[in-house]
């Protein structure tokens, strides 16, 4: 079975991988060789091959985050060859395949780098700062009562589509990793937009945006300078339009919310 790569022969690769023992220790780049990598393998399967090889040699395997390996959970990360989730647009690391690389390539693999994402071990970072932002307001707390009849609350198709597009954010943190400023604005804007667009979420839109932005700043993320690298690297294609919507929500809330 041949992939996109016309050359479907096994590849030998040089990997430069960030190794860091724990949260406190200083890390460094280590170089490893991997042999007989099939172009049909996913990037993480290639990492599995590397780790099996390291275990056989008595070396501590490289720690990296992964879960569903289907591109839907947002657990995998990895900064591959200078890009969040690797060189292919619109994919998570687990959906990146080795046919995108060539025999003899050197691949640099680093963790997400941002102050609010401390490195726990090797390529694993602690992304709970994003959970705390979500907990600050990314929910609906109003009592919505019993199950309403279908179509009782009309939502125009284009609004439903926009809210759904924002809701596809898998909270992987690639936006923060790719941003020159380490800003989490694309993530926060997706969550704020999704809820502010729908009738159930509109009730708390003002306090939500104020609390989520305050938490975002408190966690130490950088500010947005509209560079656009976040949206370009987002595996699910969250649009930059959401950031303008977040700005709009925030400015509106600042002047009209009840929080003095």
């Amino acid at each position: 079975m041949a992939g996109n790569n016309p050359n479907s022969k096994p590849m030998n690769l040089t990997l430069k991988v960030w190794r860091q023992k724990n949260f406190q220790s200083a890390g460094k780049m280590e170089t490893y060789q991997v042999k007989d990598i099939s172009p049909e393998m996913s990037f993480l399967e290639m990492m599995d091959v590397l780790n099996e090889d390291l275990l056989r040699k008595g070396i501590d395997p490289v720690a990296f985050d992964h879960d569903c390996r289907e591109g839907i959970c947002g657990t995998c990360s990895l900064y591959i060859n200078g890009r969040a989730h690797g060189p292919e647009r619109g994919t998570t690391t687990c959906q990146l395949h080795m046919r995108k690389f060539s025999d003899g390539d050197t691949i640099t693999i680093e963790p997400w780098r941002a102050g609010p994402f401390p490195i726990l071990k090797d390529l694993i970072v602690d992304r709970s700062a994003m959970d705390r932002i979500q907990q600050a307001g990314g929910y609906i707390s109003v009592n919505t009562g019993g199950v309403p009849d279908a179509n009782e609350i009309p939502i125009p198709k284009d609004i439903a589509d926009k809210a759904f597009d924002a809701a596809t954010c898998i909270q992987c943190g690639a936006c923060v990793a790719a941003c020159k400023n380490g800003s989490a604005m694309l993530f926060v804007s997706a969550k704020v937009s999704q809820l502010a667009l729908l009738p159930q979420g509109k009730v708390e839109r003002k306090t939500r945006v104020e609390n989520m932005v305050a938490q975002m700043d408190k966690e130490g993320f950088g500010s947005c300078t509209n560079i656009g690298s976040c949206a370009a690297e987002c595996p699910v294609g969250i649009s930059l339009e959401n950031i303008a919507k977040l700005n709009r929500e925030y400015i509106g809330a600042a002047f009209t919310s009840e929080n003095v």
Binding site: N81, A114, K180, S223, N226, I227, G228, S229, A232, A244
Partner: protein, 230 residues
Amino acid sequence: MSWFSKTFSSTIGRKLLVAVTGLFLCSFLVVHLVGNLQLFKGDGGASFNIYSHFMATNPLIRTMEIVLVLGFVFHIYEALVLTRRNKNVRKTAYAYNRPQDNSNWSSRNMGLLGTVILVFLIIHLYNFFWRARFGEPNMIDIEGTGYDDLYSVVVQSFHLWWYVLIYVLGQIALGYHLYHGFSSAFHTLGLNHKKYTPGIQKFGAFFSIVVPAGFAAMPLYFFIKDVVLS
């Protein structure tokens, strides 16, 4: 903290101030460019000198001058505060990074471009504004009234090749700064819509070329006319 200081000390609030002051400074650029186009009039500088006198004495203009200085101060101060914060977020740089694959050079280098513009601005103010306001330029008689001959100060400055070079480089930096800054400011204000955003981006690109090109044309015109061709 009051709601006001909380809003304007947040990252979004500070960025909002950068955007508003940035657009205000854009409006200044238009006024400054249109007024100075009188240098090209070929009337020996009469209308330029009368215009300069008006700009230096009109009370409304003098008041706006203070607003303009405040615009620069806020624009630079807020941008510095945010840049400092942003630089601290990623203490360890990526060993291998390819930002050129996902963003424009100008958008990533607004601080550098702004610094070049600031250096240019200091040289520019020292040479023209300072000398016009506090120096003693020669007097010239225009239809029976005496005016400071600022036209000659400008023209003579633009006979120096290195001065022309500083101006052209300053305007190139301004062009790149505006190329990102103009449309970015609207985005920060929350204005992004498929109906008008493509128009704002196109106008921003036009603005970032035409305004700096207009300013750069002034030193180039006098240098080419009086030095190269004479």
